[in-house]
């Protein structure tokens, strides 16, 4: 096997564009724009960064499908879609960054976001354990910094530290798990691992490795019971960082997770039905999903902080996404991708609204939203779309995400299987979830504004991002086949 | 004549009058009264026109109008007139204008009163002419609404409660009536009284209902029975009646007792009896006791009353129970081997005469009570008066005639009906006739008490002061009624001629299916 560096370079052109973009942002900021106001510097950084994202997007679009560099990377439908999704969500995050409170080093902030995005792009395409780990770490380290970026706010520092500690532990688990898998199968290539597992069957070493990997991913995607960092990070991190953590990073994370579980460990899935018991990750993932669904939805009921509420809802959605992972075996990655992307859109949008509101005043508690319909009808309308989509109300995209995932899960093993039972549980919990989503909307759309709350002016870029996200949610809802038809 | 939908006109002209009144909100009181009276009189005029071409010898329906209406329920707009209907339409036509006259001066908001009254009159006429359950029931139920408001808005202090009781009792009965007909339709697919009667006569109806099994065939009968029994009212379903009659304004009391209570009797004769000859025969034994209860206890209850209006109300229970007594007696005898058609014919024609006569005499009595009440400033206790005869001799005379007509004095109208009933019942169920005699005595007792306490003796109570005799208006109401009492007392065949062939045909077909 001769290393095909040209092919590798060609496949990595999107990531390279992003890194170059990041460097350009930093360079321009240090040289030409040094004396400008922070606002102007941010503007420039975002323009350059957006350009880099668009370039990367163009290159992803043009990329040739197939495996690269001997199977280290795979460019298939899922990778393409998920990379485009990551880029799009990052672009939207840029838009809301424009609307969020100004911070001291705008260029660095944008540059790190670009780096995070390049890590996420790699994750979406990785097909080898080492590269996967590297990509994950690149993305994670960038996200730790982003979470703690607001040095003026202690909450932000706490968020950064907490995220870092939990993330570091997850990385340790992941690395340990990967090494055990390597030990058991003698390979880091996912295709080779799959062959080995199929040949030798179950093996204690492999099981331990698999459990480690599951734990690590549980941390990454904030699935209960490994969710403890999520509320604090969502609460403390700057809004755009939180948006990125909740959207693009989740999309890429689930892409990688799926790739790891199904093509590689597919043979170790275990049976999909209750009756035929056998060890396998299927049940472990099902258990994670169940705990996340219940805990996320129930804990969200008690929240008074808007961001913590979104965090718990994220946990609940992680449970549903895990259900989507289970269904990949029978229905392909379509439902999962659709869910993850549309969830990302809604979450970016929700954090975008929070970002804009924080610029104008306070937006911590749910009650701070009171009178939003007066203060800014645009924000209120967009928030309604995002929240209703999260709640899964048709004809918004969130509903079809749930619909396709649950239906795929039921298809996977019938009503008596763990997946089927979980689907019913998830449907039941979605009625519970409606309560806390409506509590948010009640403040935004029904309650009157507090005395003296001024109207909110929404920056143009933020407007564009929010309206785009809302329009996409509506569009994907009206026309789910636009995404589902990809697979 | 057939080109003109005479029966529809009879029903809808009063309603047209009501609509007209509703559309003229600025009409003054005198004009409203005149307009209402005019439309009310239309019934009498149209009925007399119908009488001209009515052929008593035909036992079927005449002036029939039948049009498709609701295909999904096989409902037809079906009207028809026979001797029975004619009698009741005539009664309504006679009484309604008098009721309006009775309320001529005393009623505020004359326009609204006239409007409601015309609605009520039209609904009552509809009940007597409709031959399909669907719109028969429309008229039957819709008559309650104007009646309720007439009682509620113009009634005495207890009118709210009385009106509520009246409507709830009656609707309660009607609800079961409705259920019964729902069941009948489910079994036969028809709601037409004529078709159902022929099914009932052959026993096909009973057979179809019997397929339900269990207690349900009887339940259907019971439902229909309850609807009518409350309306008449048959003892012990009469408890709504005294309060309602007593609280209603005079003109409305007259209509309630004169016409609306006849709707129940009409229902028994037109619907229950032909449709359920078998079940009625089976139940008639116990039912006779109910009717006797009405006759006897009604009379005794009337004896205990000190409120004149309540007393007359109870006497209505007593008088109407005679009608049912006769009908049940006929039903008991149905199918028995004894040749009883002559007695049955007597009982049935007595019943119809009683229906008409009671309408006239009870209306007259209520009017007299109203006169007393208005002269006494709202008091109407038996002991609030004394010696009225010397204060108002003309009034005393006319009221006395009405009392004796009600009591059944020969020569006045009440006698003929009661006599025929007793004769018929004696031939069919002698013991019942014997028990009913108790009622006769009690009736005589309380009516004479009324006569004596109020009109005789020294002037006392309300009559102690100035007590005006009858005005022209009072004459206009009382004189036609009293004249009819004499006329029908002397020449009962004026009425019996209208329905005798019908009665004979009924009496000759007293067989159980």
């Amino acid at each position: 096997m001769t290393p095909d560096y040209a092919g590798l370079f060609s496949a990595l052109r999107p990531e390279i564009s992003l890194v170059l973009g990041a460097l350009l942002v930093l360079g321009l900021d240090l040289t030409l724009y040094r004396r400008h106001s922070p606002g102007g510097r941010l503007q420039l950084a975002l323009w350059v960064g957006s350009l880099a994202l668009l370039t990367a997007g163009f290159q992803v679009w043009r990329a040739e499908p197939g495996t690269v560099f001997g199977g280290v990377l795979i460019i298939d439908q899922l990778a393409m879609a998920s990379r485009l999704g990551v880029l799009g969500l990052t672009l939207l995050t840029f838009g809301i960054t424009q609307g969020s409170p100004a911070r001291r080093q705008p260029a660095e902030y944008v540059a790190i976001m670009l780096l995070a995005a390049s890590g996420l792009l790699l994750m979406a395409a990785a097909q080898q354990l080492l590269l996967a780990f590297l990509a994950l770490e690149l993305a994670s380290l960038s996200l730790y910094v982003l979470a703690g970026f607001d040095r003026t706010r202690p909450e932000s520092a706490e968020a950064g530290l907490k995220y870092f500690l939990f993330g570091g532990m997850a990385a340790a688990f992941l690395l340990f798990g990967f090494s055990l898998v390597y030990g058991a199968t003698g390979s880091v290539e996912l295709t080779e691992i799959a062959r080995q597992i199929a040949a030798q069957g179950s093996n204690p070493l492999l099981v331990v490795g698999l459990v480690m990997v599951l734990v690590a991913f549980g941390f990454k995607v904030a699935a209960a019971p490994f969710h403890l960092w999520a509320p604090d990070v969502y609460q403390g991190a700057p809004a755009p960082s939180a948006a990125l953590i909740a959207s693009a990073s989740k999309l890429a994370g689930f892409t990688l997770f799926t790739r790891l579980l199904w093509p590689a460990f597919g043979a170790a899935a275990g049976s999909a039905t209750w009756l035929n018991s056998g060890a396998g990750w299927f049940r472990a993932v099902a258990a994670l999903a169940a705990v996340s669904l219940v805990l996320g939805n129930v804990a969200a009921l008690a929240q008074t902080s808007l961001r913590r509420l979104l965090a718990y809802s994220a946990i609940a959605h992680a449970g549903a996404l895990l259900l989507g992972v289970l269904a990949v075996g029978s229905a392909g990655p379509g439902p999962l991708f659709y869910y993850a992307l549309t969830y990302g859109l809604a979450t970016v949008g929700a954090f975008g609204v929070i970002a804009v509101m924080e610029t104008a005043g306070r937006c911590e508690r749910i009650t701070d939203l009171a009178g939003l319909h007066r203060r800014s009808p645009l924000l209120a309308g967009c928030l309604a779309i995002f929240i209703l989509s999260l709640a899964g109300i048709p004809p918004l995209a969130g509903f079809f995400g749930k619909l396709t995932v649950f239906s795929a899960a039921l298809h996977a093993g019938g009503i008596r299987s763990p997946a089927g039972g979980l689907a019913v549980l998830a449907i039941a919990l979605s009625a519970v979830a409606l309560y806390y989503y409506l509590m948010v909307l009640k403040q935004a759309l029904v309650a009157g504004p507090a005395d003296g709350a001024p109207p909110i002016k929404v920056p143009r870029a933020a407007t564009l991002a929010l309206v785009t996200a809302a329009a996409l949610i509506v569009w994907f809802g009206m026309n789910p086949s636009a995404l589902l038809g990809l697979f | 004549m057939n080109a003109l939908p005479l029966l529809s006109l009879i029903i809808f002209v009063p309603w047209a009058g009501a609509v007209l009144l509703a559309c003229l909100p600025r009409l003054g009181a005198p004009a409203s009264r005149a307009l209402a009276l005019g439309f009310s009189l239309s019934t009498l005029a149209l009925t007399l026109a119908a009488l001209g071409s009515f052929d008593p010898a035909t036992t079927g329906y005449q002036f029939v109008e039948r049009h498709d209406w609701i295909r999904a329920l096989h409902v037809h707009y079906h009207l028809g007139l026979d001797g029975l209907s004619l009698l009741l339409v005539l009664l309504t036509g006679l009484l309604s204008p008098l009721c309006l006259l009775a309320s001529w001066r005393t009623v505020a908001e004359a326009r609204f009163f006239g409007l409601l009254f015309l609605l009520l009159q039209g609904a009552a006429l509809g009940v007597f002419l409709a031959l399909d359950f669907f719109h028969w029931f429309i008229f039957w139920e819709l008559s309650l609404i104007p009646a309720y408001f007439l009682i509620r808005l113009w009634g005495g202090p207890g009118a709210a409660r009385a009106g509520y009781q009246f409507v709830i009792y009656t609707i309660g009965g009607s609800a079961f009536l409705l259920l019964g007909f729902a069941a009948i339709f489910a079994a036969t697919g028809s709601l037409d009284f004529v078709e159902l009667s022929s099914l009932g006569a052959t026993g096909a109806l009973g057979g179809k209902l019997a397929s339900l099994g269990g207690i349900w065939p009887q339940a259907v009968f019971l439902g229909v029975f309850l609807g009518f029994a409350v309306k008449v009212p048959l003892f012990p379903f009469h408890t709504w009646l005294p309060a309602t009659y007593a609280e209603a304004p005079t003109g409305v009391s007259m209509f309630l007792t004169g016409v609306m209570s006849k709707m129940g009797v009409y229902g028994f004769i037109r619907v229950l009896w032909p449709l359920f000859p078998g079940p009625l025969h089976a139940a008639a034994g116990p039912l006779l006791w109910f009717a006797l209860g009405g006759v006897v206890l009604g009379a005794f209850a009337a004896m205990r009353q000190t409120d004149l209006k309540r007393m007359i109300a109870y006497s209505s229970v007593n008088h109407l129970s005679y009608c049912l007594l006769a009908l049940f007696a006929v039903s008991v005898a149905t199918g028995s081997s004894r040749p009883a058609s002559e007695a049955a014919a007597a009982a049935l024609s007595g019943t119809l005469l009683q229906v008409f006569n009671h309408g006239i005499s009870a209306a007259a009595l209520f009017y007299c009570a109203g006169v007393l009440e208005s002269r006494a400033g709202g008091r109407r206790g038996l002991n609030d008066f004394g010696g009225v005869r010397s204060a108002a001799p003309v009034f005393a005379g006319l009221c006395g005639i009405a009392l004796f007509a009600s009591l059944g004095l020969p020569g006045l109208n009440g006698f003929v009906g009661e006599f025929l009933i007793f004769r018929g019942v004696w031939g069919l169920a002698p013991w019942a006739a014997a028990v009913a005699c108790l009622g006769l005595f009690a009736t005589a007792w309380f009516l004479l008490t009324f006569w004596q306490r109020v009109f005789h003796g020294p002037r006392a109570g309300a009559a102690a002061g100035p007590f005006a005799d009858l005005s022209g208006l009072d004459f206009a109401v009382l004189v036609p009624l009293v004249a009819l009492m004499f006329l029908l007392g002397v020449l009962p065949h004026l009425l019996t001629g209208l329905f005798n062939p019908l009665i004979t045909s009924w009496a000759n077909h007293l067989v159980l299916p």
Partner: protein, 508 residues
């Protein structure tokens, strides 16, 4: 016939226009809403004149929507849906007229109002269960905001309770539908495909699935004991919204039961028939008794709605063409009558007197102050009692006839409900509008004292109120006297093979 899908699109467009118009002035939004609602209603009537009744759904639009799941954008109409479409047009037009006095956030109010209406049109036109569900949810969400933002008594509680019940119900429906779809191996969500798929499930499976779907829909239809959202929701809602709520939204549930749930599994229906019927008659009687005790006039009407919807559910449970045709007729009838009752109480009375307590109202003797409102309430009340001449009578009669055929006992108990309905309606009329005459009042022949006493001044009834009320009264009388107008549409529709599998007894 292809006019009908435009009822959805036009109403949706009207919602957006009203939102935009509301930023200019309240009046603009009102007129846009009125034109939209009335125009759409006329559209449904036009379509109705060209409608040829027949068994089965007549397709209007049918294109693939989500090919991956076999979902189609399939709009179709039959006599049942046409009846309800006409009702929706009528109720929404009247609803707009009775919302004329909304001054705050007018544009948003009518936007939500019309969105709800568009969803309702969509539900009645859907021939694909998933599309049905999508429109169903579109209709539910605006309710919450309409009540929470513009409502009265205890509005946030009422709105949330209503929303949660509705969503719990729809979650059950979704679970059931997906279950059938996924586990039965269906290739799409058309009603026929689902029935087919359901037949492949085991009997217990069918029973559970049927229960999920039926009771999910029945929640919105106010079936006892799932009805508790209805009175509080109705009471809290602004007048226009409670008219829609009682008028058409509760019908969504009943329509779902009829269109989606009943044909799903004849086996399971046979299992559930008796419990459903008993719940329905219990609801009729229980809600009636509660209405008899209530002191708040709007609660009385709210419970009366539950009682009347009990008749609809009873008709469905009796499951013969006669009873079901009566149930559909009752849906129409109740939509009109309940709408009128809520309009009188909510708009004509409450907005003027600011109280709905019978204890307060009886002292006011409203018949002297607002004779028009009184007349309308009496007419609506009389119609609601099921008195003949109004639409409630042929409906209840037909249901009773059909139920009698199925099981006489149900019909007998339901008849008690009719009696209770008469009692509570009369009580409401009496206490609410006529007060009670004390012993000191005029003597028997003194007349009613129509002008006695000094009255507080109440603003006169406005033209939109009169127009709306007369519209509804006209509808109930026309249908009451000529139910064939609707039955001629409904009865052929019941001959469709899907329904015939469940409905016993052939042609009505």
């Amino acid at each position: 016939m292809n006019l009908l899908p435009w009822s959805i699109y036009l109403t949706m467009a009207g919602a957006l226009l009203a939102l935009a118009g509301g930023r200019r002035s309240a009046g603009t939004a009102r007129w846009i809403a009125l034109l939209t609602a009335a125009g759409t209603w006329i559209l449904t009537l036009l379509a109705a004149t060209r409608f040829v009744p027949g068994p089965g759904l007549q397709t209007l639009v049918d294109v693939p929507w989500i090919p991956a799941m076999g979902v189609r954008y399939h709009l179709a109409v039959d006599g049942i849906s046409l009846t309800l479409l006409v009702l929706t047009g009528l109720a929404s037009t009247a609803g707009v007229l009775f919302s004329w006095n909304i001054e705050e956030r007018t544009g948003e109010f009518f936007a939500l109002f019309l969105t709800l209406v568009a969803g309702v049109y969509g539900v009645f036109l859907s021939a694909d269960a998933l599309l049905f569900f999508v429109f169903y949810e579109i209709a539910i969400v605006p309710k919450y905001f309409l009540i929470a933002a513009w409502g009265s008594t205890n509005r946030e509680y009422g709105a949330m309770k209503l929303a949660l019940y509705s969503f719990a119900g729809s979650a059950m429906v979704l679970a059931g539908l997906l279950w059938v779809y996924a586990c039965g191996g269906a290739h799409g969500f058309s009603f026929g495909q689902l029935t087919h798929a359901a037949a492949t499930l085991s009997r217990p499976g069918q029973i559970v699935v049927f229960a999920l779907v039926f009771f999910g829909f029945a929640t919105l239809a106010g079936l006892f004991p799932l009805h508790t959202w209805a009175p509080t929701g109705h009471v809290a809602a602004p007048t226009g919204a409670s008219m829609l709520l009682a008028g058409v939204v509760m019908k969504l549930g009943a329509y779902g039961c009829l269109r989606v749930a009943l044909p799903l599994s004849p086996v399971a229906f046979a299992y559930w028939q008796t419990p459903i019927a008993w719940l329905a008659v219990t609801g009729i009687v229980y809600a009636g008794l509660v209405a008899l005790m209530e002191q708040d006039l709007k609660f009385v009407i709210g419970y009366s709605s539950v009682s009347h919807m009990g008749f609809v559910m009873l008709g469905l449970a009796a499951a013969n063409p006669r009873a079901v045709s009566g149930a559909v007729l009752q849906m129409f009838s109740h939509g009109v009558i309940a709408g009128l009752l809520f309009a009188v109480v909510g708009r004509m009375v409450y907005d003027r007197t600011h109280t709905r307590q019978l204890g307060d109202l009886r002292r006011m003797k409203l018949y002297r102050l607002v004779p028009f409102a009184t007349t309308m309430f009496v007419i609506a009340g009389v119609a609601s009692m099921g008195l003949p001449g109004f639409s409630g009578f042929p409906a209840e009669l037909t249901i009773l006839i059909g139920t009698w055929t199925a099981a006489p006992l149900w019909a007998a108990v339901a008849t008690v409900g009719v009696l209770i309905a008469a009692a509570f309606t009369l009580r409401a009329i009496q206490l609410g509008f006529f007060g009670s005459t004390g012993p000191s009042s005029a003597s028997a022949t003194d007349g009613p004292g129509l002008h006695a006493g000094s009255a507080p001044h109440l603003s006169p009834i406005t033209w939109p109120e009169k127009a709306g009320a007369l519209l509804l009264v006209g509808a109930t009388v026309v249908v009451g006297l000529k139910p064939d107008l609707l039955l001629d549409w409904i009865n052929p529709a019941l001959q469709s093979p899907l329904l015939q599998a469940v409905l016993k007894g052939g042609a009505p």
